[in-house]
Subunit: 323 residues, 2 copies
Amino acid sequence: MREKILDILLDNIGVYISGEELSRMLNKSRTAVWKSIKSLRNEGYLIEAYPRKGYRAVKNPDLLVPREIKRYLNTQRFGKVIDYHDIIDSTNRKAKEFGLQGYPEGTIVVAEEQNRGRGRLDHQWASPRGGIWFSLVLRPYLTPERAPLLTLLAAVSMIKGIEEVARVPVGIKWPNDIFLKGKKLAGILTEINAEMELINFVVVGIGINVNVHKDCFAGDIAEIAASVVEEKGEEVPRPEILGAILNHMEVLFDKAQKEGFSSVIEEWKNYDTTLGEKVEIHTTTGIISGRALDISEDGSLIMEKKKGENIKVRSGDLYLQSN
Amino acid sequence: MREKILDILLDNIGVYISGEELSRMLNKSRTAVWKSIKSLRNEGYLIEAYPRKGYRAVKNPDLLVPREIKRYLNTQRFGKVIDYHDIIDSTNRKAKEFGLQGYPEGTIVVAEEQNRGRGRLDHQWASPRGGIWFSLVLRPYLTPERAPLLTLLAAVSMIKGIEEVARVPVGIKWPNDIFLKGKKLAGILTEINAEMELINFVVVGIGINVNVHKDCFAGDIAEIAASVVEEKGEEVPRPEILGAILNHMEVLFDKAQKEGFSSVIEEWKNYDTTLGEKVEIHTTTGIISGRALDISEDGSLIMEKKKGENIKVRSGDLYLQSN
């Protein structure tokens, strides 16, 4: 019933519809109508009520509620199950639970805010309201060594979705940072659950500073973080961005599972800002210096340590070195 | 209170102790004593009651209950948290939940029986009563590529524990099978939860056919499965084997985290039956034929495909080929 009322009001934005009329259309009591309106308001929908006029929705809310996301989806599986939270500790944490519990591929966990959002290696990740914070459950047929390919795939999908809807220019810094004019706009945290030779499931966590205003970043983060709204000077509909990303991801993922990841790697290189550069990579086992040469077929970075000595690196903190 | 009654009865096996005496020793009502006895019996302890004589424990039960396991432990962390089940779907499934929930390293899930026990790649794994079926949560500081080292470590610990307590001769077939006179006695299923560059946690699942009688294996499994009781003709105390394995594992694990895995690899080779042999390995990405040469420092098998062409294999089904 809530859903039906919402449909009616959002299909007639700005137009008052009386409680009596709603109650007749739905064949429910006026009290039941009022209760539904109240619960929709609690969920964040802006619905005005005027005596003798009735109810009207003021505008399409910029919330990541399932109804809003689904308006923009043309997927078969991705985003069909949506677990929505106003606030959560970490969408990755919850999505890993879903993965274990056997939720289908394409299930997403999405939140308006995370209070324990994190990046690689437990680095803190600020997740204030106005961003897109979500995690996707994937069940690829893939060996665990090749999991970094999924981070590349997510990055390409994100950039396509962001450019399409927000129309801001973005680039990738290997392995998992999306930059806008030199500042971090978005990040990816890929986590696997696997046997030695096959992945059980993967959770791809994605965070994007969309409508996050500068003063909503705590402390010094504003110095290094970009957001779409700060770049454009106006807000951009988040459900539309999220929908676009999921649309691209499903297409790329299905193609990669059928034909391999070579076209993902090629597309990734179009947006890359690190290949060819002199870099230093801080990994969990040490620091590696050299030139970033290429992406290998398993998604690792190929580094030239010195002339003729190449090594593969799966992940790490990459710093550009001056030449 | 249950624990105290159990201690008293097991310290006086075969001796009757009256309900009145127990109630006086514990300063509890006789009804409370009776309820505790009932609950202990439900847990599988054989406690006899005779009018006017009282209660007596008949024998130390061969159950994998925490109390029995702890008698044999001299560990700091391994086996300090024990989640015991009479029957469970899969101890690995439950241990992975615990891993996500932040349970401490060394937590184990143990069951008398699994009804959805599984081996690598969802292969069925029979887990009837009389075996040891348990899973251990580890939190190593280790990159995911090196996870196969933990399977080697588990195999060495299992063999040491089994040989020490059961005194039957066992060997390893790479990567994860423990054999007794050509039949499979035990197996290991290692699963990781990881970011690209670091493991969050690992679950090592271990299954051993200890006191499983031939006719308790369903269908054709008896043809290929060994058990300790069939080999020796008598039952061997399972809690003692489990305790011995955990003792070895903690020592080996702590040493490996400090000094690396090279001594684990050396010990593993002492029990190995595959290195030097002509083998065929069926992996998720294809079949590899060649000679099993060595174990690499990340725990993979080094195979000589042809003269001078070596490759590393992380896991798979290994078949010995006739020369």
